[in-house]
Symmetry: C2
Subunit: 338 residues, 2 copies
DNA sequence: GGCGACTCTGTAAACCCTTGCAGAATCGGC
DNA sequence: GCCGATTCTGCAAGGGTTTACAGAGTCGCC
């Protein structure tokens, strides 16, 4: 079970076994073979805790996300995971459910695990956590929140650009009566999208109106929000959703009410999750390159070939507008007038 | 940073600090306060590796699943996670991508982490792994594969019953020309569904035909399979999918080809993932209670109030047939005849 | 055959915590 | 004020690895 048992069986010292297992020092071929044999026979698994403890490092990176149930976050996690495994790292993931408390406890957990690096992909970061992390002395990377610093990299997406493209497109189709469906309105990154919406509209269509509805970040939340929205006339001609997941919920509710998309109402999402392509009608949305984000996250956390992690940098990633079938010209007469 | 630093700062021994932090022994109020203060001031995080090493236990449970990208597995994982956190356990998850190699390496990883218990929710288990796990001397629970044993619990779902219900329903609607869309045909649990299909049909509609198409377990895989299926006439009147994820892909492809569901073709899924309710048409499927599975998994891994984990048991969970809008009477004339 | 230079291996300390055991402090009761 | 019981605390061993350091072999060459 332990290194010592293997050592005894192979007739060597624990140091030698350790060296064989880690393979960074040269061990004579015959010795190595004996050790390997003993390892196999004993079905020995090194105790990872002891290893991390003794080694000081851990070859594990931590990932903290807001909502694993949203495929957007899952995709990022999976991208990081894939890079990690390719490089022999493990990943541990934690979910905050958009709460600051769970973020704080997840951070503590990760620090307790002595992760080699930590990716924080949440919307609810607070100053205290940032401070704690910058003192932690491990590479940290924030997505969307916080700011670059000593050992802190930051990655953000130019949401504004994505929103602008949507607004341009929709206004060019004659829309001026908007709804914005979002979740947890207080959160920074979402505010950015909302503010970008106002700003863009101010230019593209100054007299446009926007009704905002807030619900939870889920299919049901989107549906619920649509229901709320439709409770009071007039029905907007375009519904922009803060993300695809909620948009798909919206589509469902509209369909149940026999409101046609895009003939009666246009709907847009954000993220371009796989689902947006498979729902009906396929969703007009903004693609956020989760793969690229994942790779960048991983890169920011691990010392690369050149030896040092490029901490302190700030990356900005551009999204990409994707037109599909959920958007069309604004309806001319209000078929929903009561 | 270390226990010792805290101890020094608080003017006590490391043992006392440890006791304060773990709270299982009584420590005098004033001492406790001093220690807590020191902990706070130093922003001390216990080193979890050292803790697990010293304590011998780890309060971490491992979960291994086949395909995290399928919401079915994600839901189970999340259910386990939620129970774990409620009881102060951590969870670590690994994905096998349906390969035996990744399963083996995940198992080794988990064993190396000295997890307190391990849930194996995969389709590709082999004997060697089972043997290794039963020697590991920690509670293990298999979902769908393996068999109960010394410290091994097994949970399985009565798929057969679900398939029977689908078949009964479809044949009663006049269907006799079937397709079965599945993935990785060699895997046990999926075979069970497929065999159940044959068996049920033998009774319900002996002259019925079944065409089988295999593709990957994903939205794209479902779509691809549908494409493959439609390549050769005649188009079946009912397409049964091995799970909802693939079924949603099938729906997409059918829609693109203007094949109406359920008027022209009926489609069924399996699992009842959230998405099956939000796609269009909403999917007729078989509900598999992931929450219940998750709770049962957790229960099987952790010593309950009575002190001992109920290992060696075998649980069978019944699925539930859910009729929605993707199924209807078989079309009478073959509108697709060429 | 002896010497130096390598190559390989062992010894032992360190990593940070938990916990059994025993000693110290405190308390109640007389 | 003393004693025993009780509560609290410290000592030190151990848990399974890594790794610096030094020692033991091996080899080639003069």
């Amino acid at each position: 079970m332990s290194l010592e048992a293997v050592a005894k069986k192979a007739g060597v010292s624990t140091a030698t076994v350790s060296r064989v297992l880690n393979g960074l020092t040269v061990v004579k071929g015959s010795t190595r073979a004996r050790v390997m044999k003993a390892v196999a026979e004993l079905k020995y698994h090194p105790n990872l805790h002891a290893r991390s403890l003794a080694g000081g490092r851990s070859r594990t990176v931590g990932v903290i996300v807001s909502n694993l149930d949203n495929p957007f976050f899952l995709d990022i996690y999976r991208a990081v995971e894939s890079d990690c495994h390719a490089q022999g790292y493990e990943v541990v993931v934690a979910n905050t459910a958009y709460t600051a408390e769970q973020l704080a406890s997840s951070v503590r957990l990760m620090l307790g695990r002595r992760v080699a690096g930590l990716a924080v992909i949440v919307s609810e970061v607070d100053e205290e956590v940032v401070a704690e992390l910058s003192e932690a002395n491990i590479p940290v990377v924030f997505y969307d929140v916080g700011r670059a610093g000593k050992n802190i990299t930051k990655i953000r997406v130019n949401y504004r650009k994505g929103v602008e493209r949507i607004v341009e497109y929709l206004t060019s189709l004659g829309h001026s009566d908007f709804a914005f469906i979002t979740h947890h309105a207080a959160l920074g990154p979402l505010n950015e999208r909302q503010n970008a919406l106002y700003d863009s509209l101010k230019i593209a269509s100054p007299k446009a109106t926007v009704r905002v509805v807030v619900d939870s970040d889920s299919l049901d939340g989107g549906r619920q929000a649509a229901r709320e929205l439709l409770r009071s006339a007039p029905v907007p001609t375009a519904i922009m959703c803060v993300n695809d997941l909620m948009a798909v919920g919206v589509l469902k509710e509209l369909r149940e009410r026999r409101i046609r998309v895009p003939e009666d109402v246009s709907v847009t999402g954000f993220d371009n999750i796989k689902l947006s392509e498979f729902c009906h009608p396929a969703l007009t949305t903004v693609h956020i390159p989760r793969d690229l984000i994942g790779h960048t996250l991983f890169h920011s956390l691990t010392p690369d070939a050149s030896g040092s992690a490029a901490a302190g940098r700030e990356y900005v990633i551009d999204p990409e507008f994707v037109v599909r079938d959920s958007t069309g010209p604004a309806r001319s007469s209000d078929v929903f007038a009561r």
